[in-house]
Symmetry: C2
Subunit: 273 residues, 2 copies
């Protein structure tokens, strides 16, 4: 991209974690259509909470679902990451110019990125050095209004197609549930420090055996910080967090080196116990 002598239309891989029938992927295809030719490859079924899971015990099948001049749609009996891997391997001779994931039905801000299939597919895309963007709307319903997301998402696609992203970096875009003209703008943010606090609901089945349903609520560990995605979303902005695939905690390296595992006067030595 950014090569003005290249008049070829960009090719865009679209995926999601809510499945190929979800309203969110329809909205994302709508968002992306002005920018290029679309190959959409999404799971057969909903895959929320599947994170970066890959399918290794069962084989995958790739089904063509529909085709128009500008949009080919496929489904896969696997996870969002399976979709990206299989698409990259089987459907492209040259890598696509852009990978888009979503629009997720629900937030992927803060620590939710860790559990998110939408963002796992996005991160997987960035491993191939293809600019990748994950979009999520803060509406958990099955039939949300994606029009504001489509409208405000396009400038983000435009900017990424023009400027690219750093290698092995991708974007986590979250969109608040607001009318189109009530969205205040776009904020570049860091990932909020938060946690999902579980409250498993314990029930007893008809045979007297206990079972547990995962429930929980989000807790923001830094509600006053104004540079986070949580703050931006709570204050009417679209949040963009640039995401890395290098999970090293560099600050911790120096501290660990002081533990002297290998020095002559090593404190922590392998010995027989």
């Amino acid at each position: 991209m950014g090569n003005s002598t290249d008049t070829r239309k960009p090719v865009i891989l679209v995926t999601n974690d809510d499945g190929f029938r979800a309203k969110g992927i329809e909205a994302l295809i709508e968002m992306a259509k002005p920018f290029g030719r679309i190959i959409a490859v999404a799971p057969d079924e909903g895959n929320s909470g599947m994170s970066h899971a890959i399918t290794i015990k069962t084989p995958l099948r790739l089904k063509k679902r529909s085709r128009t001049d500008d949009v080919e749609l496929y489904s896969v009996n696997g996870t969002p990451v399976d979709c990206v891997k299989l698409a990259m391997n089987q459907l492209f001779t040259n890598p696509p110019d852009l990978i888009l994931s979503g629009i997720n039905h629900g937030s992927n801000s803060s620590v939710s990125i860790i559990y998110s299939g939408t963002m796992a597919a996005t991160i997987e895309g960035s491993l191939y050095n293809v600019p990748s963007i994950g979009f999520s709307l803060l509406d958990y319903g099955s039939n949300p209004d994606f029009s504001a997301a489509v409208h405000h998402g396009r400038p983000i696609i435009e900017a990424v197609l023009e400027n690219g992203l750093s290698n092995r970096s991708c974007l986590n875009v979250n969109i608040p549930v607001l009318p189109m003209d009530k969205i205040k703008g776009i904020k570049i943010c860091r990932q909020n420090n938060g946690i999902w606090r579980e409250e498993f609901e314990k029930r007893t089945d008809p045979r007297g055996q206990d079972y547990f349903w995962l429930t929980g609520f989000f807790h923001n560990n830094e509600p006053d910080a104004t540079d986070t995605d949580e703050w931006a979303l709570a204050n009417g902005y679209i949040s963009i967090v640039p995401i890395t695939t290098d999970f090293t905690n560099y600050k911790e390296i120096d501290r660990l080196n002081q533990w002297n595992f290998n020095n002559q006067d090593q404190k922590y030595a392998a010995k027989n116990r």
Copy 2:
């Protein structure tokens, strides 16, 4: 920990992704036994490649499998992260002093951390601010020799119990397949930049339908870098990479801010197309 007036024995939560019957978790319990009382909660079945997946569509069941004075063992019909969540919620009044995951049958170095259930459970533990360590042995067999890992892993547990880890940080420990006395020592490393290159194997079923098996090989994008986990392991060291749960790419924030989404002379504006 580190409170010398506290003579209470540390409580250690142990989990894995290969299932409660795996030889690796038996070895990890053996490694941890000298340090405290152990509550082990692991998946019913193998969960390799499940990453940070959580179970939201089906209920979870927690089965007590065995109990001795020092070790209680449970299994859960879910993912490694489910095990940590359910254990933290149902089995502890006070949080454990340490969370250990593994020993994984196979490497979780470099980018493999993203797909790993072992490391997802470790990362989940660190979200609770409990010091968490994931151990992996570079042997994919079902019956590896874990004795060197047990021997050399204990000083790491000792150091972490004494010094703690920074909040929301955990350790990714990988152990090369070498005899106990051939392991050169422990290296604190950064995560290698690598990628799994897929080579899906396409087959045709008896009804003439194509299906795909995920295969692939690891490619090291920086084979000459000497500060990575890949280098340490290839050169006879145990690698420790400190891992963060903040996936923000801070270097990219400044670059994205220059895109001027919200300035008066904004280049990328939401408009009708």
